[in-house]
């Protein structure tokens, strides 16, 4: 009987069986005076997965998430699939606090990135919670969970809302989700219509040498410039960051090669995402870029954000060493504020430490910050790294950084990020003055 009521993709009960079960459980609960909780879970982004990768892709996501849900709930509750991307969990003998705790746990387990080949998908979900009231109609009870879920979704998703706690519905969440989709489309447009470019900001040593230039991505679609603050998070969510990263690695490497041929031998620093470094194909992609650009590897530096060091997998470790073996430099970006762990620092074959601007803005007056900068600089030196300070705008900051022993400076005090031609002009002016 029940074999027919099972969803073949997930092994969960199907909609019909769910409605039948909730009736039975509600009757039992009402009789015993115990509580029954329902969690209504809606996965976001699944529609896009289906549209982009077909239903097979969608099913793959569903299967893996169902597996996670089953493991996380550890035998508590009955799981049902209500439709494409909606699940219900019915938990007998569960009060509001427990239900909320479980909902939070489930959100967390759903949000762990799902890996597909070289792409990462970042699933998220909205959860509605309802607790059966005395003599409540079981269908009305499920409907309350569904409505609470809709509220969670309207608030932007990635959260759980209990029935009865819903605030006035707002439109902000919907607008945000729409904006993300629009940015994703624009990124695709930019990738296929030449809408990406790099701007470069010089990093100047205290000895007057150009230590490197950092490549910063600019993205234009439909004639409109999209801010990195907006497109980078969307690119990270959708996995497009790998393609953007590979594009900028090649473009930056080619520019390094052009600069070299023009007589300005300078390192070009390119930002590398966590997703790129976690890909087993990273060494091949790096070598392909070096080869395609016909550039000496010592002219390329990869900038790694500090968040990378939260969790250094074996693949990341291997890839970092492969990059060093290829002769490419490694810089740790935004050092000192986020996830830096000194224990990690000793394991990473980095060649450069870039101190976060947060330390720079409070100089020269904040003497404690100055002491920290000095100590970090010392540490970097001891580990054989070049130490750079970012975000330097004023002469007094520059003086303090010189006193702290920093090697080089990046910031408006020297130059703003500029397009390729402008940077060449900047070089020419410097060499003629």
């Amino acid at each position: 009987m029940r074999a027919n009521g099972i969803d073949p993709t997930t092994g969960f009960l199907d909609r019909g069986s769910c409605l039948e079960l909730v009736g039975r459980l509600a009757a039992g609960t009402n009789a015993s005076g115990q509580r029954l909780a329902a969690l209504w879970i809606d996965l976001s982004r699944l529609k896009q997965v289906n549209e982009s990768f077909g239903h097979l892709g969608g099913d793959l996501v569903i299967t893996q998430i169902a597996q996670r849900l089953r493991e996380k709930s550890a035998g508590r509750g009955e799981w049902c699939r209500m439709g494409g991307d909606e699940f219900v969990c019915l938990i007998p003998n569960c009060d509001a606090d427990h239900a909320r705790q479980l909902a939070q746990d489930l959100l967390q387990t759903i949000e762990a990135p799902l890996r597909f080949g070289e792409l990462f998908l970042h699933p998220s979900a909205s959860i509605g919670i309802a607790i059966l009231e005395a003599n409540e109609d079981p269908f009305a009870f499920l409907e309350r969970a569904d409505r609470a879920m809709s509220t969670a979704k309207r608030q932007g998703g990635g959260r759980a809302v209990a029935s009865g706690e819903e605030p006035m519905p707002g439109r902000l969440g919907i607008l945000l989700a729409r904006e993300e989709l629009a940015i994703e489309n624009k990124l695709h447009l930019a990738l296929e219509n030449g809408g990406l470019s790099l701007h470069y900001q010089p990093i100047v040593g205290f000895d007057g040498r150009i230590e490197a230039v950092e490549a910063l991505m600019r993205c234009t679609a439909d004639g409109e410039l999209i801010s990195p603050v907006k497109f980078i998070p969307v690119a990270e969510k959708t996995g497009l960051i790998i393609r953007l990263g590979e594009w900028s690695l090649l473009a930056g490497a080619r520019y390094a090669s052009e600069l070299d041929s023009a007589g300005y031998r300078t390192k070009v620093a390119v930002n590398i995402s966590r997703a790129q470094l976690a890909s087993p194909a990273f060494p091949q992609a790096l070598h392909a870029a070096l080869l395609c650009a016909n550039v000496s590897p010592e002219l390329i530096e990869l900038e790694l954000t500090e968040s990378l060091f939260m969790d250094i997998s074996e693949t990341v470790q291997t890839n970092l060493h492969a990059a060093r073996a290829a002769g490419v430099g490694l810089a740790i970006d935004d050092f000192g504020t986020g996830y830096s762990c000194l224990a990690n620092l000793k394991d990473i074959p980095a060649t450069k430490l870039k101190l976060d601007r947060a330390f720079v803005v409070v100089l020269p007056h904040d003497r404690r910050a100055f002491a920290v900068v000095k100590a970090m600089t010392q540490l970097g030196r001891e580990l054989g790294m070049t130490v750079v300070a970012e975000g330097v705008e004023e002469q007094a900051q520059l003086d303090a950084l010189r006193e702290a022993g920093v090697d080089a400076i990046q910031g408006y005090i020297h130059a703003r990020p500029m397009p390729e031609e402008a940077l060449l002009n900047w070089f020419q002016q410097r060499s003629s003055s």
């Binding site: 052009e258 080869l291 395609c292 290829a326």
Partner: protein, 293 residues
Amino acid sequence: MTSTAETPPPLSPVATLLESSLKDIGIPPRPTILDRISREMAKEDPDYKRLGNVIGADVSLSASLIKTANSPFFGFRNRVRTIHEALMMLGLDVASQAIAGIILRKVFPNSLHLERFWDASARVARLSGWLAQHVGNNRLRPDDAYTFGLFRDCGIPVLLKRFPGYEKILAQANAEEQRSFTAVEETQLPTNHAMVGCLLAQSWWLPEEVCLAIRHHHDAAILETPAISPPPASRYRIAVTQFAEHLVQRHSGLSHTCEWPKLGTACLRLLDVTEAEVDAILAEAVTVMTTEE
């Protein structure tokens, strides 16, 4: 001096400075004509006549584009005679990719003795265009299959140019019956032609699914397991051209590669073709191959 639409603006001092260095760059930069087309495409009312004049200035490019537009798989009833007609019939996006395919062959130095390589690519590309109409339930446009056929192996001439010993590696990879083609390359190189080709295509701003198909075209696991990346559009491209290559080799009786035993089953499954149907498709394809020679 005033610059008209037909004459490019004079080079800035910086551009002159860079011009000589471009020759030494590892992969050919995106042809400027493609930029002109993209700019025109971005307009609400693209000026076909002006583009026609720009393309027409290059006699061999024009001849090749007209020839491509007259390929049987486009199925135009009337023969295309002028560049203007070719652009109108193909549409700018298809024309742009066709032009990219034509120029690809010209941007590599002749000294590499690549004639046979390009001829083979062109043969596979044409048959891929034809196959796209006959198998796989129209999931792939013939012109997309054709362009992919031209670009699929574009990493090979790059590597030939850079590594004097690459020809030997290529021969070993072609003869390899067990490991994947790229795995053989990677025993002696830090990268492989699929990855290099993907980067070239990306830097020419070819569509994402083309880039990913180039990157994975020797990857049996990718063809066999449904996954989120590369998308189906990439996998169909890989399957169609691999099938075309197999038919070309069966027809000529010369198997230069050992890819079909490694990838064939997965390709046929993707294209909904059974082993039993292959002979009949070959018989039909032979007429296409011989008339196109």
